[in-house]
Amino acid sequence: MREGRLDSAVAATAYQREWFQSLRRTSGPDAPIAFVNADAPHEVFRAMGIPYVVNQWWASVIAAKRRGPESLRRLSALGLPDDSRQYDALALGAQDLPADEAPWGGLPTPAFAVAERGGDVTHKIFELWGQRPGTETFLLSRTAADPAPEGWWEHVAEGWEEVFGRERIDLLAAEIDDLIAWLEERTGRRFDHSRLAEIMALGNEQAQWNRRTRDLLAAARPTPVAVTDSIPSVMVPQWHRGSEWAVTAAKRLHDEVAARIERGDAVCRDERRRLMWIGRGLWSDLEMYRSFQEEFGAVFVWSMYLAIAADGYARYGPDPVRALAARFVGITDLLYVPPMSSSWYVKEALAHGVDGVVHLVADDTPGASFISAALEERGIPVLEIRANNADSRSTEDARVGERIAGFLRTRVPARH
């Protein structure tokens, strides 16, 4: 049995910390950086040599460093709500923390803040970024989801035109062109489509490694990797998607997982219950994921981070801007809008042989009931917890650990 952390996770976390410190050293008027939401087309920035920090990643760092409550208090002091879209807003509040209190020394002032207009509030949060000195905001439209064909995960990489619809892709592709022109005007740099094509190809290669890794883990008994390790191993490279480093990191994760399976490593040797965690990560309490192993033999074997990296990101096509639009136009829908979401979670639950699901339902995720119902219909018990993953006040109120323990006792019988 190997209990140590994945080398991939340690390496990814170390890389991210060093990358961020390098960013802090080098950013400035002649080396602008961008602050982007997770569902903005990051590859444009990579192609233009503009480093970018992803809002959700930075929020997870803030939460993990326990700076969430103070960051939210900073918003409140500005007359802004501290109980609305905390995951999206945390970074805005953290920007006013003194440097010695800010996680990792704080985020340098971004020149560009980019998000799409999904939801009622995120676009306002990014509008407020644009009111800070030195930062300009660019917003993209977000269109609603048409129902994707059944089994979208088998078609989306090549058949994205069918999955999302031509008109939605037309609109986002045109807006990506507008974003490119906006950045060219402000940086004096020229956008190179062939460079974007290279980045898209690397991103697709990365997604293929993630797919192989996910498939290995789905079949592995017992599970050889803790989700708290697989999450950074996947997500740090995801934020560097389309780089050579990210492809190497994805392959490294795959190879390490394969080796662990080959050796028969186990997160929990006495694995009696396999659990799926649906929803965003509980960054402020990562130990929670391992806390049910000893008493219940319960192991979280699945999170959406590797799974969506495996099924949701690859996009092939001759026009890199259009393929990029197809990558982002509906990725949130695939995760959250039924029936695309519910059918996918069922597929993943069955493939991973889970015995129970903990479903963290956030304020902004529609159709959660259909996901839970679809799983229950297949005989998989679900515990729904309504809480905000980035707000430790909310998760403390939700008594997450206590409720999972009760769920395991009453609804998830141990395997024999």
């Binding site: 009622d120 509008e127 269109t143």
Partner: protein, 350 residues
């Protein structure tokens, strides 16, 4: 399906000319401040602005109007969630449902997308009624809807008169009713709304929309008059938009122009737009105070408050706020709002 079909409308993006031209009657669904919510509706929708759950409660319980179809606008997260849920419930007593998804940023690409969306809405309505509008139908629908717009303008002028010639409660009641009847009846309802008011505190209402007039009635019971508002069931209700043209393409193009030219509710507007709109409307109505009433679950307006307060301060108008309003706490929230409006400059927080 037949002409005269009832099309339920959720949200504030539907150009009614299209529905009328196809021979259907729009019936706006707004929910309620305080109606009991069905457990099934809450379970499906999760944490949303409660009127959306009230609409779903009505639809699931069969308590609402008989509808042949429903159009839902992507103009708030609550409405979009409601659409996703209704789509999943097809075959469970829910009529055909269509989403109208109009972007907010004006650009050539968003205009192309919006035109395609209006064409799809037209096709959906045609499918409901079995009737394809000809040139005469387009022109007649335009004429009738323009008459509704003229009546709305007359109503707004009466509200803003000094002293007001109609109160906000009666005006909102008329606007809500007008959104659910044929144009001629809508004009009658709007023009019938007249009720001389004594002078008193003139109030502009911002924040959440008002799915029913109950809160207005409670505020105006204090003697204050709500002379204007900037939410999407009140003065920003999209009544009267129409294009005089002989075919669908030309009508759609004109309606896209109108869509990008109008002010909208908080969920789809920027903070700056909302602050500017609130200030401009409050000033134009000679409002003494602005009252921000925000339901729990309706998050967007919370983000506008700071900028709106600053903008109003520049115009010398006080902002009173009551946020986090729940159905259970509605009476207390209204009482505090009334105290804020009539009793001084202190700001109130629910």
């Amino acid at each position: 399906m037949t002409a005269g079909a009832a099309v339920g409308i959720v949200g504030n993006d539907v150009p009614r000319q299209i529905v009328f031209a196809a021979g259907a009657i729009p019936h706006r669904l707004t929910g309620s401040w305080s109606a009991p919510l069905a457990g099934e509706a809450v379970a499906h929708l999760g944490s949303v602005d409660p009127p959306a759950a009230a609409i779903l409660t009505e639809l699931l319980g069969g308590a609402g109007p008989a509808l042949d179809a429903i159009v839902v606008c992507n103009d708030s997260q609550a409405n979009l969630r409601l659409f996703y849920v209704l789509r999943m419930l097809r075959g469970a007593g829910i009529p055909p449902v269509h989403l109208l998804d109009l972007p907010r940023q004006d650009s050539p690409a968003t205009r192309r997308f919006a035109r395609a969306q209006l064409a799809a809405l037209t096709a959906f309505c045609e499918g409901v009624t079995g009737s394809t509008p000809d040139a005469a139908a387009w022109r007649e629908a335009a004429r009738q809807e323009r008459a509704v717009g003229d009546a709305v303008a007359r109503l707004q002028a009466r509200r803003r008169a000094q002293p007001p010639e109609v109160g906000g409660t009666m005006a909102l009641t008329a606007l809500l009713a007008a959104a659910s009847v044929p144009p001629a009846a809508a004009v009658e309802l709007l023009d019938a709304a007249a009720e001389p008011r004594a002078g008193g505190v003139r109030v502009h209402v911002t924040g959440s929309n008002h799915p029913d007039p109950s809160v207005y009635a409670a505020v105006e019971a204090s003697g204050a008059t709500i002379v204007s508002d900037d939410h999407d069931t009140g003065d920003l209700s999209w009544l009267g938009a129409a294009v005089e043209a002989p075919d669908a393409d030309a009508v759609h193009a004109g309606l896209v122009d109108a869509h990008f030219a109008r002010s909208t509710g908080s969920a789809v507007a920027t903070i700056a737009e909302r602050a500017t709109t609130t200030r401009a409307m409050a000033v134009a109505a000679h409002a003494d105070v602005v009252l921000a009433l925000i339901r729990q679950g309706d998050e967007a307006p919370l983000w506008d408050l700071a900028a709106t307060g600053d903008a109003l301060a520049g115009a010398g108008i006080a902002l009173h706020r009551s946020v986090g309003i729940t159905a259970e706490g509605l009476d207390g929230a209204v009482a505090r709002a009334v105290a804020g409006v009539t009793g001084g400059t202190e700001e109130h927080h629910a």
